[in-house]
């Protein structure tokens, strides 16, 4: 695909989405709007995870932790001051946060930056590890973040969580951020950084021999990904209005991983489509968990069935089609890239 055609297609997709969002806001009910919002947030999350796992080939499972950091940052920064007092009835909030209230955009940016800073802090030591060790170390960090958030009563309100976070997130925010992420990741990937990331993925030793600074590029990729994970976490907090540490378990990371795998590791369009499909499916398949009343016959729902089906899909895709569901088979090229 040449450059001109690509730009034209991207513009077309952008205009189409804006139009669709405009119509959706006008005609759809709150529940459907909420799904559209979630889709946008998952697009951001999927791309950010794909940047580390797909493009740079570092297997990181820390997304839930970075999202938690972003969500709490946005929650604490945007919440009105009286609301804070109501939330922190158990133990008063730390003084330096008690009287802070900012707009949504600065709060999102701060959330992303704190998250990215934490990403560098965590990444610098653990990115020396390979594959499965890295996976378990990042998982460990996410888990530590959750435990810390459960216990720092005066900072995060502990297990009680935060309630009454103002609902700034709407379709423009969630999809706006999603488009910025899409643009940024594709920009990054086409440039020298992207080439370096993919070289690291294909063969670390060869990449190093070619003069790529492994450490710098890995930390950079990690920082970018945690930035977007933090922003997405913030969007989610503002969408839901209520957060608590238990939301950010490994299950959440798993959902994002599902999107990345279905969309294809290291594929942008695939990830975007998979994020939307998975989010919609998660809601559409909700009937499996709940009872259905057909009038003459009552089918009892089985809680958990939905996730069983999703796990089976994940295993099937991994076993049968490693390039992801939503990509064309490219013959020799695809099989070459796998090695």
């Amino acid at each position: 695909m040449n450059e001109q055609r690509r730009t034209r297609l991207a513009l077309l997709a952008l205009v189409g989405t804006v139009l669709a969002l405009f119509l959706a806001n006008k005609y759809l009910d709150d529940y459907k709007i909420r799904i559209i919002n979630l889709s946008g947030i998952y697009v951001t999350l999927g791309l950010s995870m794909n940047l580390i796992n797909g493009f740079t080939g570092l297997f990181s499972l820390g997304h839930a932790g970075f999202m938690a950091v972003g969500a709490y940052t946005v929650g604490l920064l945007t919440m009105p001051i009286p609301m804070k007092e109501m939330n922190f009835f158990f133990q008063p909030i730390v003084p330096w946060l008690a009287n802070v209230e900012m707009g949504f955009l600065p709060a999102l940016l701060v959330a992303g930056l704190i998250s990215a800073f934490l990403g560098v802090l965590i990444g610098a030591p653990v990115l020396r590890l390979r594959d499965d060790y890295l996976a378990i170390a990042t998982l460990g960090f996410a888990e530590i973040i959750r435990v810390v958030f459960t216990n720092t009563q005066s900072l995060t309100n502990g297990a009680l969580g935060l309630k009454g976070i103002p609902n700034y997130t709407n379709t423009w925010w969630s999809w706006g951020v999603a488009f910025v992420t899409i643009w940024f990741v594709s920009f990054l990937i086409r440039g020298s950084y992207g080439k370096a990331f993919m070289a690291i993925r294909e063969d670390e030793i060869a990449a190093e021999a070619m003069g790529i600074n492994l450490f710098r590029h890995k930390v950079l990729s990690f920082a970018f990904a945690s930035f977007f994970a933090g922003v997405a976490g913030g969007l989610l907090a503002s969408l839901l209005g209520t957060i608590d540490p238990n939301m950010f378990r490994i299950t959440l990371t798993f959902n994002i991983l599902l999107i990345v795998v279905l969309g294809g590791l290291g594929r942008i369009t695939g990830t975007v489509v998979a994020a939307v499909v998975v989010t919609v499916m998660m809601e559409a398949l909700r009937f499996l968990d709940e009872s259905i009343n057909l009038g003459f016959i009552q089918i009892k729902g089985i809680p958990g069935m939905r996730m069983v089906i999703f796990s089976i899909i994940l295993i099937l895709v991994v076993v049968l089609r490693r390039e992801g569901l939503l990509t064309r088979l490219k013959g020799r090229e695809a099989s070459y890239a796998e090695n």
Partner: protein, 298 residues
């Protein structure tokens, strides 16, 4: 009474928790030694073992001690089946793929657990003989606290004998040393891997039964935390090394209990302890306490 008896009580608690971690960690370490794969589903296999025992005791007329043998055997078969379905087709693929499959399998087992067993906690039926408190010089200790380390040590002796003295055990060691050469020497890889998964899952289920007797609350997600911590135990001890896994298990179990006992202020951070240990070990001695460091070949 006094500080000493209290300390002894914590010590026995720590040793019994450590033994459980050790039993589960062995499964991780054996699989990793041969396939270089973190079997993320191992903790959920452990959960399955507990539930199978529960149903065996509650819904069948089989005496409990027989259930304690049948249920781990069934769990072992599930572990074997899991390898066949989710891991075997990916043996030649990049490691990241098979790792994703393992995570999928783990999630599948957890949610199957919710579907089949229900999300509500159940109470593990502990046989009376294992569940009474004895007083030793003022320290009241549940009998199961003694039984756990004893069973663990017996199983370990059996396992060590199996691995060092039998032909299958030798094949296992050969496979973990050099996969390709071993396969050229006429070792039936599929058979050995199946046996490894069977044994790992069997031990996890035995650990699960004792876990149920010690902490008698069953939930479909009960395997996640013990699974993660036991994996950490395996890494801390040096993954691929069975003695290391046991040492790591005891270290984590004792450490966790002692942390809560000596620094009650940090009780809330109990679950983070293992992860902090993991990260420290990975940073300073990535090959683990007893593992051999490997240099990377180009």
């Amino acid at each position: 009474m006094g500080n000493l008896s209290l300390f002894l009580q914590h010590l026995t608690n720590g040793i019994s928790l450590g033994s459980l971690y050790a039993l589960i960690a062995i499964g991780y370490t054996m699989v990793y030694g041969i396939l270089r794969l973190i079997n993320f589903a191992h903790g959920d296999i452990f959960m399955l073992g507990v539930y199978l025992t529960y149903f065996g005791i509650i819904y069948t007329a089989i005496p409990w001690w027989l259930v304690f043998i049948i249920a781990p055997a069934l769990t072992g078969l599930v572990g074997l089946l899991l390898e066949r379905v989710a891991y075997k087709p990916l043996r030649e693929s990049p490691r990241i793929t098979i790792l994703i499959s393992a995570i999928g399998a783990s999630f599948l087992l957890q949610n199957l657990g919710i579907v089949l067993f229900g999300g509500r906690p159940r109470a593990f039926p502990v046989p009376r003989i294992l569940n009474h408190v004895v007083k030793v010089r003022g320290v009241s200790i549940n009998v199961i606290t003694f039984i756990i380390p004893v069973v663990t040590i017996l199983l370990l002796i059996g396992l060590t004998y199996f691995i060092t003295k039998t032909k299958t055990g030798m094949a296992m060691r050969a496979l973990s040393r050099d996969y390709e050469t071993a396969s050229l020497m006429g070792i039936d890889i599929n058979r050995i891997i199946s046996i490894t998964f069977f044994m790992g899952s069997f031990l996890a289920a035995v650990g699960g039964i004792m876990w149920g007797a010690r902490y008698p609350q069953l939930m479909p997600l009960m395997g996640v935390m013990p699974g993660l911590k036991s994996f950490i135990a395996a890494v801390v001890g040096g993954i691929g090394n069975i003695a290391g896994a046991v040492a790591g298990g005891f270290l984590l179990g004792l450490g966790e209990i002692m942390l809560v006992a000596l620094l009650p202020r940090l009780t809330g951070y109990r679950d983070a302890f293992a992860f902090v240990v993991l990260i420290i070990i990975l940073l300073f001695k990535p090959s683990g306490l007893m593992g051999q460091s490997q240099t990377e070949k180009v």
